[in-house]
Amino acid sequence: MKIDPFKELNPPTKDGYWINKKTKERFGGAYISSLLVPNLKRVEKGFFKAIKDKKFMKELNEELETFIGVNTPIHFSPELTKLAGGEKKGKIFLKRTDLHTNHSHKPVSAYSCCKLAKYLGFKKILTETGAFQNGRAVASACAALGLDLDIYVGANDAKKLAINKDISALHGANIIEVHDSTKSLLPAMAAALRAFQSEPDSMYVVGSVAGPHPYPLMVRTFGSVIGRITKKQFKNLVGKDPSTIFSVCGGGSNMLCISYPYLKTKSTKIYAVESAGKGLKTGKHGATIGGGGKMGILLGMQSKVLLDGENIAESFTEASGLDFSSIGTEVAFLHSIGRIKFLTATDLEAKKTFMMMARKIGLICAIEACYVIHAAIKEIRKIGKPKQNHLIHLCGAGEPNVAQMMEFMKKNK
């Protein structure tokens, strides 16, 4: 299938802000030290040049199609439809992003950003990772493109056994443990940004639609290829746009990747699902919106942030891909203007959904995707109508969660 060219539907200001005109809230920007300014400028300029460069974009699209495999199918699930109350609540479809190389949406923007780095003459990539989903995606891209790579990972995260960590190493990535603060994703991101400040020949690649301008813009622009293909496919398959799109929201990249082309499609409701961890009331969660995050400035961006006084609160969830105390800037903006509706699901609900998907649907889904499947079924049961068509973003495969889920299965026998 030919990939439709990118169209800018929701441009930020030239300084990278999305502004809610009613509340005057500003999301985005580039809150970084002066020392980082030149590096970011180089990336920003390069990005705008690249997306206008037809040869670059043609090559990129070809590689996304045949190397990453972005042309994944949309699967109608009679079983999920039944679980949500049958066709009188509409039909449920899954977008099979789990079928990408490296098994999640991350490789799309990771590969595109690394390709941009190569185009701009950078020799090395810097990135951060929590559970090595982004780490693996970037490592694969760097190997394919012949770039060196340093992956920053919190020392606590690095201790965990993770197949994607080993795979990153097999790809030749250099893995650097970060011992600051909570020794988890947030300090790892900070460390990667700090390294970016020290290594002008390296380009930073972020794992979500977060960070200083132009990263959120860049990641969703490249990533939106998923949504552009989806939109075309869905129309071919069903004859019209979906009534709803449900995606999980950690930073918000998989959500924006698939929903972006629908931003101006009024008939399509967009839902984002956050992790309520052990329950919103326990305070142990990863729900920036659902858990009452406030405006803050974190990792170079202004967005909604979970705060602990003037410092950043620790998020908590068993889904490492959702363990983040903030959300992407454009996502926070779209929420603030009411374009995206937020829901939550708890860790326990997600794990039960994982088992249901394995047993009844035959798919091993990324635990992250199980939050959205649970919340979507619940919501569709409430709001679904006949002749509607609901699209759930199955944003990743669950191999990294197998050990965790085996334990859950044994305990719940």
Binding site: D15, R26, G29, A30, Y31, I32, S33, S34, L35, L36, V37, P38, N39, K41, H179, D180, S181, T182, L186, P187, M189, A190, L193, R194, Q197, S198, P200, K294, M295, G296, I297, L298, L299, G300, Q302, V305, L307, G309, E310, N311, I312
Partner: protein, 273 residues
């Protein structure tokens, strides 16, 4: 006239440079930090007091660890204000206090409230690592601080463009402009004098007035001496913070730690001419 302007006018008169010592407030804890800062007032014309922020995007590992120690000991902005105020009141010092912080704590605290508190405890100046030159927050801060006579320092480094330097000079008010001796993290490399000379002459090209503070990699008395030949202020950070770590790990009492750091800072500051 602001405190910092005053200081630099006097220094200029005496053809001297200021010695600036950096610590994270509350490192390793409130009491020790207070004792250390009191001791440092004896040798520092300026104390740069860092507000601990867990997700710093520009500090060296040494300062990251100091942040961790301070946060663990329960520091926040209110306590930082209290600490600085107590030091100033109890020592009746002339030393200027500059807060070094990230934007998030200020924004969450409230910009207006932050400026008022700074004024009321006697803060002389402010450095915000991640405040973008063109951000709305920068504009609000500049306006508020200037009104209250509090200085505002921007940082420039060898890789910044001329245009960026010009605007940084413009945004630097009633304080020195911070020049890094290399592009990288604090404390990660050694002083690069060539860079220093080049950047100072660039600054001078655009402004005869603005004082220059030079930091990053200034770790020894010799460094201080070399740098103070060119700069109006010499900033020592990681090497002092590292000493605090050493003393803390030896489980020094607040008093002993303060003496230990005082002695070290005394030696360093002796390099400033």
């Amino acid at each position: 006239m602001s405190k910092l302007n005053n200081l630099f006018r006097n220094l200029k008169k005496n053809k001297k440079s200021a010695f600036v010592g950096f610590v994270t407030t509350g490192d390793p804890n409130y009491a020790s930090s207070k004792a250390i800062m009191k001791e440092m007032t004896k040798y520092c014309q300026i104390i740069e007091a860092g507000v601990a922020f867990s997700t710093s995007t520009s500090d060296s590992p040494i300062i990251m660890e100091a942040n961790d120690r301070a946060i663990k000991s329960g520091m926040n902005l209110d306590k930082t204000f209290k600490l600085v105020k107590e030091v100033i009141v109890e020592t009746k010092t002339d030393t200027c206090f500059i807060l070094m912080t990230y934007l998030n704590p200020i924004v969450v605290y409230g910009i207006k409230k932050f400026i008022n508190m700074s004024k009321s405890v006697g803060i002389a100046g402010l450095i915000i690592v991640d405040s973008n030159l063109n951000s709305p927050e920068e504009k609000l801060l500049l306006k508020g601080l200037t009104k209250k006579g509090i200085g505002y320092t921007k940082i420039i480094s060898p890789t910044n463009s001329e245009k960026f330097i010009q605007q940084s000079i413009r945004n630097t008010k009633n304080s020195f402009i911070y020049i890094t001796t290399y592009a990288g993290l604090t404390g990660s490399k050694n002083v690069n004098l060539k860079n220093v000379k080049k950047l100072i002459s660039k600054v001078k090209k655009y402004s005869k007035e603005v004082p220059t503070g030079v930091g990053f990699g200034v770790k020894t008395t010799k460094h201080v001496k070399q740098v103070s030949k060119y700069a109006d202020a010499v900033i020592c950070g990681s090497s002092i913070v590292n000493k605090i770590k050493v003393g803390h790990e030896k489980k020094f009492s607040a008093k002993k730690l303060a003496k230990f750091i005082g002695k070290y800072v005394k030696t360093l500051s002796a390099g400033a001419r």
